[in-house]
């Protein structure tokens, strides 16, 4: 019932969720029921790859919530994703127990290697799954809350906000590279053995993680849709289009932005937490600014302000990445760069914008063709969108 009402005006979402359900069932069925040598058999490797894409898609939904519906172009969502991933990684690290190279039942290998005598305080509790899951939500959420509370209150907007979110993830990357931080430094956390007692190498666990990712994506999508359908969502769209007007009408713009931004960060954290057991490693490179920008590009390509567009973009770009890096590694960055440029120039509403004319997407008053009057504006503190 609830889902039906949420998707009442969301044709794209209906299609997307149906497709997600069908594909998941088909993949699971083919992996389990069809014989290995069948044409239609989906190998477990592919299942894990798809699971990874679904995590990226959830990250893209989170970015779209902040960018498409609130107008905050975050170049630091990769940081929340990675923090969620690290929380999960710490749990998986503790699960290794004495099966590590050094066989220390208490300390992860890298701590033994660094000659540490006891577990740092911030590692305690991570042997419990429930605690780790709370941290997956809490750590990115708190960071986003603190960061947003400072930034939105002092009305840092637009490009400035983008740049300091980038600085945030860059600073975190440098910090996590340090061995002294206690998160494995350069190598990050890896060599995971099992999750909740199930071996991560087992096909059934991998299938389970894939299903969990699909469910998380669907739930995340519905959650975001319920936000965008609510009054909160409508006010945030208003903020996106004209922050000052909303403030003058009497809304507490800061609070609304903070709520939506924090929710978006938590979703990114969940995506990271599901991502780590599937790829088997988390290291500081996940914080690199490039990753965050890539996530933004998935959204831009799919079409921002639609939520399902973000999913479409994430899946397409990542499939393209897997294909290109295998087939022509040289060409991948050329292709990605060209996609950036072409999409922003010619497809301002993304791929789904081609099919979908009546969405929440921000309208473009200035199209690329009317160049002359729209020269550069003096300061960078430009309005988010042309009115």
């Amino acid at each position: 019932m609830l889902i039906k009402s949420l998707l009442a005006n969301d044709r794209g979402g209906r299609i997307l969720l149906t497709a997600l359900l069908l594909v998941s069932v088909a993949v699971v069925a083919s992996n389990q029921l069809l014989p290995q040598d069948s044409m239609l058999h989906v190998p477990t490797y592919t299942v894990t790859l798809l699971g990874k894409y679904l995590c990226y898609a959830l990250l893209a939904v989170a970015v779209d919530l902040a960018w498409g519906y609130l107008g905050i172009l975050s170049l630091g969502h990769g940081a929340f994703f990675a923090l969620g991933g690290y929380a999960m990684g710490m749990y998986l690290m503790r699960q290794i127990g004495d099966r590590g190279v050094y066989g220390n039942p208490e300390l992860p290998d890298f701590m033994v290697f660094l000659n540490w005598q006891e577990l740092p305080w911030f590692w305690s509790g991570f042997d419990q799954f429930w605690f780790a899951m709370i941290m997956v939500l809490l750590v990115p959420g708190l960071l986003a809350f603190a960061f947003g509370w400072l930034a939105f209150r002092s009305r840092v907007t637009g490009v400035y906000l983008s740049i300091i979110t980038q600085a945030l993830t860059y600073a975190l990357m440098l910090a996590f590279f340090r061995n002294e931080m206690g998160f494995g430094g350069n190598n990050g956390l890896t060599d995971f053995k099992d999750i909740l007692g199930f071996s991560l190498q087992a096909d059934s666990t991998r299938l389970g993680l894939f299903i969990a990712s699909a469910i998380a994506l669907a739930a995340g999508y519905l959650l975001c849709r319920s936000v965008t359908n609510s009054r909160l969502g409508r006010v945030s769209v208003a903020i996106r289009d004209s922050e000052d007007r909303v403030r003058f009408i009497g809304y507490r713009v800061e609070k609304i932005k903070l709520a939506v931004f924090t929710l978006s960060a938590v979703l990114a954290g969940v995506a990271g937490a599901l991502y780590v057991p599937q790829v088997g490693i988390i290291n500081p490179n996940e914080f690199s600014p490039l990753n965050s920008i890539e996530a933004v590009v998935w959204v831009a390509i799919g079409g921002r302000g639609t939520l399902f567009g973000a999913v479409v973009g994430a899946l397409l770009v990542n499939y393209g990445k897997s294909y290109f890096t295998a087939a022509m590694p040289e060409a991948w960055l050329f292709a990605l760069g060209a996609i950036f440029v072409l999409v922003t120039l010619f497809l301002p509403r993304g791929i789904v914008g081609l099919f979908n004319r009546d969405s929440d997407q921000p309208s473009k008053a200035r199209h690329p063709t009317d160049g002359d009057d729209s020269g550069p504006v003096t300061t960078a503190a430009l309005p988010q969108e042309a009115h």
Binding site: A338, D373, P376
Partner: protein, 551 residues
């Protein structure tokens, strides 16, 4: 002197050792009677040389005395070789030689004339052995000879090297030298050396006086001496004086290490300014977020590399060519970017950000495909390497000094262009009020392209400077893009002076924190500081005033 060596070479081989000993006696007599010093000196040299191949250490000691007395120009290198234990004599004729390993036996060279004497068997040469007494005599003799060197630079370095091993015995030598020394910089070190030697004196007053003279001296060996003195000296008053001298020294050392940190900070700041100043134009004046800015820097660095490939015989001048070349290449790429992409995205800063980021990926990959993903080495011209030594513990590296100067030149040139030229006037007019400028007949599109080209060209010039400091590779630009944005945002958008102040203060802050926080943590702290600072003053240190700032 030249005659001596020829004379030496024409000597009958074989019986030289004994024959010359007799001659030496003769020569002594001769010296006394005629006082013909020139002749005696050359004789002393031959005598000493002959004595070197003797077994007895006391005779070798006599040999050293004779050699020193001869004043022959080859004595110093000879004694240095001997002190290093690399002096040999040929058994067949006692000729003093140096040897080098060859396939069969040794390749030997005459130690005085440098004449190659062919290869001999492993047993045909024997080492001129030295013991501890000889070694200290040698050290003393070498020091004395160096103090007598004609070049004041050599005298000074010799004195500085001596400081750590001076004893009361060296005092007469030093004082003698002090009476005749003319060069001021040498006198300075000589006085310190004398004071150090006096520290060993048995008289309390002499030690106290020496301590007073040493106050504020920056030589590390002096400092070590004083540290041992504060612990070991018999007299309490002297210990106290030594402590006092040490405190003065420490405070001066601190002062200079602070100056050094400041210098490192300023040079890092100049690098930041160079990297950011092009951005200050494109981002600050035009409001365009150019994420490909780092890649324009990279293109400048690669231009330097290519220029050096093109003129391998004139590396000294390559940078002078590279600066304008990089400006033009990066500037043209910039204009192409502006005309091809950014022009369509004015007024949509976030889209500009994405599109230019895409361009940066393409440029990086292009460089990777053309030049390979490996770092390329760019040579540093001779005139840029080296250091400028100000005192014993404080010296500035020349390449950093040049970068600082270069940064200031670029900054003020850019300032002049914006404030004093027609283009600058038009740029400012368009950025303040586009419609009005157009109504006045300014070709705004033309100005946009040129402004962007100017900012990009400056980025290319920064690349030339960076090629002298870091590796030139495809990721060069990425390393600087975030820092550059931080500098511009911190300084205040649209304000060149803000960029200057911000770059310098971030550079200095980074280097000040580095000693106790480590390089990485210092950088993190600076980033966190900027993030917090932006919250407090969203428009940077020097915000733009007036209507233009309202956006």
């Amino acid at each position: 002197m030249a005659t001596t060596s020829t004379h030496y070479r024409t000597m009958p081989e074989g019986r030289r050792s004994t024959g010359w000993r007799a001659l030496w006696l003769l020569a002594l007599l001769f010296t006394v009677s005629t006082a013909s010093t020139a002749f005696a000196a050359s004789d002393d040299f031959e005598q000493g040389l002959a004595l070197l191949s003797e077994k007895s250490f006391s005779k070798k000691g006599r040999a050293i005395e004779l050699l020193v007395a001869s004043g022959h120009e080859q004595v110093l290198p000879l004694l240095q070789t001997m002190s290093a234990g690399e002096l040999y004599y040929r058994k067949s004729d006692d000729r003093i030689v140096t040897r080098r390993d060859a396939d069969t036996g040794y390749e030997i060279t005459d130690a005085v004339s440098g004449e190659a004497l062919g290869t001999v068997g492993r047993r045909d040469v024997k080492k001129v052995a030295i013991n501890n007494t000889l070694r200290s005599q040698l050290t003393q003799a070498i020091a004395e000879l160096q103090l007598g060197a004609a070049d004041p630079g050599i005298r000074k370095t010799a004195l500085e090297a001596m400081l750590s091993e001076l004893t009361a015995d060296s005092l007469p030598l030093l004082e003698k030298r002090r009476r005749t020394e003319q060069d001021d910089s040498v006198i300075e070190v000589l006085d310190i050396a004398i004071a150090v030697a006096q520290l060993e004196s048995s008289e309390r007053s002499v030690r106290l006086q020496a301590l007073q003279a040493l106050e504020g001296s920056l030589y590390p060996s002096v400092r070590n001496r004083l540290v041992t003195m504060t612990a070991n000296d018999a007299d309490a008053g002297v210990r106290k004086a030594a402590e006092k001298a040490l405190i003065t020294i420490e405070s001066r050392v601190n002062l200079f290490s602070n100056l050094e940190t400041l210098f490192f900070g300023v040079s890092l700041g100049s690098v930041l300014i160079l990297a950011a100043i092009g951005l200050a134009i494109t981002f600050g004046v035009m409001g365009v977020i150019n994420m490909a800015h780092g890649e324009l820097i990279m293109i400048g660095a690669y231009t330097t590399y290519v220029i050096q490939l093109l003129m391998p015989n004139a590396i000294e001048y390559s940078l002078l060519v590279a600066v304008p070349a990089a400006f033009i290449v990066s500037g043209l790429v910039g204009i192409a970017i502006e005309r091809g992409v950014i022009r369509f995205l004015y007024g949509r800063p976030l889209e500009t950000l994405l599109a230019t980021f895409g361009l940066s990926l393409v440029l990086q990959q292009a460089v990777r495909s053309i030049f390979s993903p490996l770092n390329r080495s760019v040579e540093t011209p001779q005139w840029m390497s080296g250091t400028w030594e100000i005192n014993a513990i404080f010296s500035l590296t020349l390449n950093r000094l040049y970068i600082i100067a270069f940064c200031l030149i670029v900054f003020f040139l850019l300032h002049l262009i914006l404030k004093r030229t027609r283009l600058g006037l038009e740029v400012r007019a368009v950025s303040q009020n586009r419609q009005m400028a157009r109504a006045m007949g300014v070709r705004s599109q033309w100005v946009d392209a040129l402004t962007f080209g100017l900012g990009s060209g400056i980025a290319g010039v920064a690349g030339v400077a960076l090629s002298q400091l870091t590796n030139v590779g495809p990721n060069l630009g990425q390393a600087y893009i975030i820092d550059s944005f931080m500098v511009v945002v911190f300084g205040g958008v649209g304000n060149l002076w803000g960029t200057l102040v911000a770059g310098l203060s971030l550079g200095v802050a980074n280097k000040v924190m580095e000693p106790w926080a480590g390089a990485v943590l210092a950088k993190i702290l600076v980033l966190v500081f900027i993030i917090l600072f932006i919250q407090k003053r969203p428009r940077g240190l020097f915000p733009q005033k007036g209507r233009a700032a309202e956006g």
